[in-house]
Structure formats: structure tokens, C-alpha cells
Amino acid sequence: MPTAMHLGRYKLILWVQYLLLVIDLFMNSFTELLRFENVILLVLYVIQDICILFAVIVVFLLFFNTYIFQAGLVGILINKFKSTIIVVFVYFCLCIGLHVWGMTMRWDDPNKDIWNNGYIALFVLQRTAAVLYYYTYKRSALRLGDPRLYQDSEWIRKEFEKRR
């Protein structure tokens, strides 16, 4: 039975998603200024990675709540939001790699000059992927507010019949 997304619930979910994005943006922007102790850096990196995981969980929960997913047309939904899923997972991998490498090099001295060519390249990739992650995730969060994804329609019925 298709159920529409309630406005109150959607507002809460959207605000949570925005909050997760803002936290990640602050982490990416200002962790270089907060290199006081290696433990502080470690905690900040862990919080950032957990926020990315929460964002993935929230977006997949939104996928599961759509009528298309409940009708069994998972492929269509994933096909439509594949850019978001790919960018999120690539960005998560880049974050893990950069944090692990950076912490490994800075564990003894957080202010040590660790900027070799490889680390600079990984740093640029991770920060650029972060911008793409913010854009695609925000766009998906806004598109998932479309009521048509939560309603039955003739097209969904036809697609379901094709796949039976």
C-alpha cells in the first residue's frame, strides 16, 4: 500500500541530512587548524567518518521508504541514484585513506611537515570529492521529497508487470 512521505518527517530527515553535511564540511575545512594533539585529530576524524556512515544509512532508509523499492523495482531506484551512491562510497574510501595515512605520519608530531607529493594528491582528491559528495547528496535528499516516489502510478505497475 503506497504511503506518502509526511511533511513533518521529511523536514526532520532533511535537517538531519543537512546537519551531517555541515559537520563534514567543518571537519574538512578546520581540522588543519585543530592539530593540537594527535588524539584530538583522531577523534575528529572518527566523528567525520561516522557522519558519513550515518548519511549513507539515512539515504538508504529513504530509498527503502519509497513505493518503488517496496514494489520490488530496486534496480530502477539504484539506477537513478547511482551517482550519489558511487560518490558517497568513493568519498568514504578517500576519507579513510587520508585519515589513516595522515594519522600515521602525524602521530608523533601533529605539526610535522608531511606534505609529500602523494599526500598532496590524496588531499586534493579527498577535498574535491567532498564537494562532489555535498552536491550529489544534497540533490538526492531534495529529490527524495518528490511525492511521486511514494505513490502508485501506471508506470510502476507496467514496470512491475514487465519484471514478473
Partner: protein, 433 residues
């Protein structure tokens, strides 16, 4: 040897000929009277009933006939067999009436008095209700049923004839009286339609104007519609998404302007400081290096996302690409901001070294390396500042345009877009058919 008493008792049945004597011709008659129940059959086929009451006075005609039969029986006159008429009654049981019936001239076979189809009475009780058949057997008298209008079960012509007569009688009398009432209404009872409705209340009838009531109802309906509109949420989820995007766009538009100004200031400051020597530059700028770097990344990231949303680059179409190439859209600003972001990120190591500058412990090996790197940094810093300014220049031409908002508002996000329809053969193969 025939028994004269039963023969004398019997009168020819009304409406029946001699050929019909042997059979119980239960031609139904009008059901206007109930006869008392009759006894069971006698061995010789005759039905004897104890004293049978005269028909009830409810049916005038039958009463008259039976009375006449009674009279003729008492007088001893031969009653000629009447032609078969609608009013003949099949005689089932003998009764007192039969006892006083006169005998017919021709020897009449023992036959039962016909009774109405619907009623077989025995011993004063209604026994059964059977249709008329050709059998000459004593049957318990049936209960007379009032035949309802529209019944199609009856196949007996006599009964239908009786009913027709009844209907004729009824209709004639009723219509006459009804017409008299309808057309002969006195003058004081004429209809005078008023523009009022009379509403029944506890105290009686209250008159109310139809126009007022209609107006009141229209007002109530309007108020209900307004109340419903107020209670129901006016925004849908997609409208909330659009409003949040509008808020983000407005905020980032301010940030883009601020970024352009900060970039201009930073370019001028670095240029002026570098003119005084790299030592002065390092000494004065080392505290600003990393905060400016972090600020650049923060504002460039937001600006890049906003300009991507403004042009909705994830959903390009042919017309948009052509218009972007011909510089009719703000898509070029995407390149400016993304370029500025990447340039800013690429000089983070130099910014970090400038921020870690200590005259006693230089992060550079020698002054030559330091000067070359700082020269490179000033150039890249200039590019890092110019690109957001150019982007802001392009954005400021059409600050309110937002392709993502338009697409969300139109609900143009066709979820079929970009998805190939499933081939029938592939679907059948995949389903295992």
C-alpha cells in the same frame, strides 16, 4: 343403487356443465368469503361436511348467489347448470349448502362442491391451498389467500378473471372518487406556493425564507472550505525541499559576494607584502596563512555546490549544453569556482609551511628554495583569488536563476529519464518463462 339423499342434496355446481362434473374444476372465484372447514372424503367420493356456514357478508355478490342457491334449494326448483363463468367455485366438500341444494334432473355424478382455489377448509380449519386439478377427490379446504398484485404464479383463468373484475370494480370506484377529489377541489384549498420553507421545530412550524437559507448554507460551505484549507498543510514535501534550496541559494549568494571581496583583499595584501620582501611577507602573513586557507576551502566548497545547483549539472540536456557553450548560462561559473578550489587545495602545503615559519628553524632548506616556492605561491594565490571573483561576476549577472529549483517545482524529475525500457524478451528470459 344410488342414494337419493346425497343426490337430492346436491345442486349442480355453478358454471359447470355435466362433463365437468367428474372433475374438480376448481375455477377460482373471487376471494370474498371464507367458508367453514369441511370434513374429509367419504368412501364413495362424496364429501360431507357438517353444517357449513353461509358465506360471510364481506363479499356481496357471492353472498347473493349463495343466498339465491339456498332459496332455490329450499324451493326445490331445479337449478339449471349455469354456463361456466368466472365465478364458479369448485366444490370440494359437501356442506350444509349442498344438503339443501336441489337435485338436478339428470343424474348427476357424485361430485364435490367446488371451492375456491386458494382455500380448502376442513372441520373449520384451513387445510391446504392447492391449485385446481382434474381430480375428483375430496381435499381439505384451502385457505383463501389474498392474491397480491403482480403475482404470476396463478395459471387459473377463473381467478384471474375474478381479480380482473375486482380490479375493475376497485379502479372504477377509486378513480371516480379520486378524480372527484382532484378536480373538484373547492376554491379555498388551492395551492399557493410561497417563497418560504417551513421548518419543523419543537414549538411548531417556523417559516424561513428560501433565499436566506440558501445564502446561509453557501456561507457555511465557504467557511468549511476555508477551515479545511487552513487545517490541511499547504506545503508538500517537494515544496519544502524547494524552499530549503531557496534559503541555501540566498545564503550562498551572500557568501559568494563575501568570498569575492575577501579574495580581492587577500590578493592585494599578499602583493603589497611581497613587494617588501619575502621575510616581511612570511613574518606578517604566517598567522593568516592557514585560517585563510581554511576559509577559502569553506567558502569555495559552498560556492561550488551552489553554482552546481544553479545550473543543475547532474541533469544536462541538449539545449542546456548548447546554451552553456554559447555563454548564455552561468555554467562557466562552475569552472571558475572548481578551478579556484583546486588551486587553493594545491597550495595548502605552502600555506602550512608559511604558518609554521620560524626564523630560527626555517622549513625550507635555503633561501633560494624558499624564494622560488614563495614566488610560485604568490602567483597561485593570485589565481586562487581571481577565479572566485570571476565566478561572482558571472553569478551577479543572473543571481536569481536556479535550474534545480525550476526542475523541482515542475516535478519534472521524470524517473524514467535515462532508463531504457525493459525488453520483452529479456524480461521473459529473466523470469524463467
Amino acid at each position: 343403487m344410488s342414494d337419493p339423499a346425497p343426490a337430492r342434496r346436491k345442486l349442480p355446481p355453478l358454471g359447470q356443465t355435466g362433463s365437468d362434473v367428474g372433475s374438480l374444476d376448481r375455477t377460482p372465484r373471487k376471494k370474498k368469503k371464507k367458508r367453514p372447514p369441511a370434513t374429509g372424503d367419504s368412501p364413495d367420493g362424496e364429501t360431507h361436511s357438517p353444517g357449513r356456514a353461509l358465506p360471510k357478508p364481506g363479499s356481496a355478490r357471492s353472498l347473493t348467489e349463495s343466498e339465491s342457491n339456498l332459496e332455490t334449494a329450499r324451493s326445490g326448483r331445479v337449478i339449471p347448470s349455469r354456463p361456466k363463468s368466472k365465478k364458479t367455485r369448485p366444490s370440494v366438500n359437501t356442506d350444509t349448502l349442498e344438503d339443501i341444494e336441489d337435485e338436478d334432473e339428470s343424474p348427476r355424478p357424485q361430485k364435490k362442491r367446488t371451492k375456491p382455489r386458494e382455500q380448502l377448509v376442513e372441520n373449520g380449519h384451513i387445510v391446504s391451498d392447492e391449485p385446481v386439478t382434474g381430480r375428483s377427490v375430496d381435499r381439505p379446504k384451502k385457505k383463501k389467500k389474498k392474491k397480491k398484485v403482480g403475482m404470476t404464479e396463478s395459471t387459473n383463468i377463473g381467478l384471474e378473471a375474478d381479480l380482473q373484475e375486482l380490479e375493475d370494480d376497485v379502479i372504477t370506484e377509486a378513480t371516480d372518487s379520486y378524480e372527484e377529489i382532484r378536480y373538484g377541489a373547492p376554491a379555498f384549498m388551492r395551492s399557493e406556493p410561497l417563497n418560504k420553507l417551513f421548518i419543523e421545530q419543537k414549538s411548531g412550524f417556523k417559516a424561513a425564507s428560501k433565499e436566506k437559507i440558501a445564502r446561509k448554507r453557501a456561507m457555511n460551505q465557504q467557511q468549511q472550505a476555508l477551515a479545511l484549507a487552513e487545517t490541511t498543510p499547504t506545503k508538500s514535501t517537494i515544496q519544502f525541499a524547494v524552499s530549503s534550496q531557496n534559503i541555501f541559494r540566498t545564503f550562498v549568494l551572500f557568501l559568494q559576494g563575501l568570498l569575492a571581496g575577501v579574495c580581492l583583499w587577500q590578493i592585494i595584501t599578499v602583493y603589497l607584502l611581497s613587494q617588501k620582501g619575502y621575510d616581511v611577507l612570511l613574518e606578517q602573513y604566517k598567522q593568516l596563512a592557514m585560517p585563510v586557507q581554511c576559509m577559502y576551502y569553506f567558502m569555495l566548497a559552498l560556492s561550488t555546490v551552489a553554482v552546481f545547483d544553479k545550473n543543475d549539472i547532474a541533469r544536462p540536456n541538449k539545449s542546456f549544453i548548447i546554451r552553456s557553450v554559447t555563454m548564455q548560462t552561468t555554467a562557466i561559473a562552475c569552472l571558475f569556482y572548481l578551478g579556484g578550489l583546486m588551486f587553493s587545495l594545491s597550495i595548502v602545503n605552502i600555506d602550512d609551511r608559511i604558518s609554521q615559519y620560524d626564523p630560527e628553524k626555517s622549513p625550507w632548506e635555503d633561501d633560494a628554495a624558499r624564494d622560488s616556492e614563495l614566488k610560485k605561491w604568490v602567483t597561485l594565490n593570485l589565481v586562487r583569488g581571481l577565479l572566485p571573483m570571476l565566478g561572482w561576476f558571472v553569478i551577479s549577472i543572473s543571481p536569481k536563476s536556479d535550474r534545480l529549483v525550476k526542475n523541482l517545482e515542475k516535478a519534472d524529475e521524470n524517473i524514467l529519464e535515462g532508463i531504457e525500457p525493459v525488453d520483452q524478451d529479456t524480461a521473459l528470459r529473466s523470469s524463467g518463462v
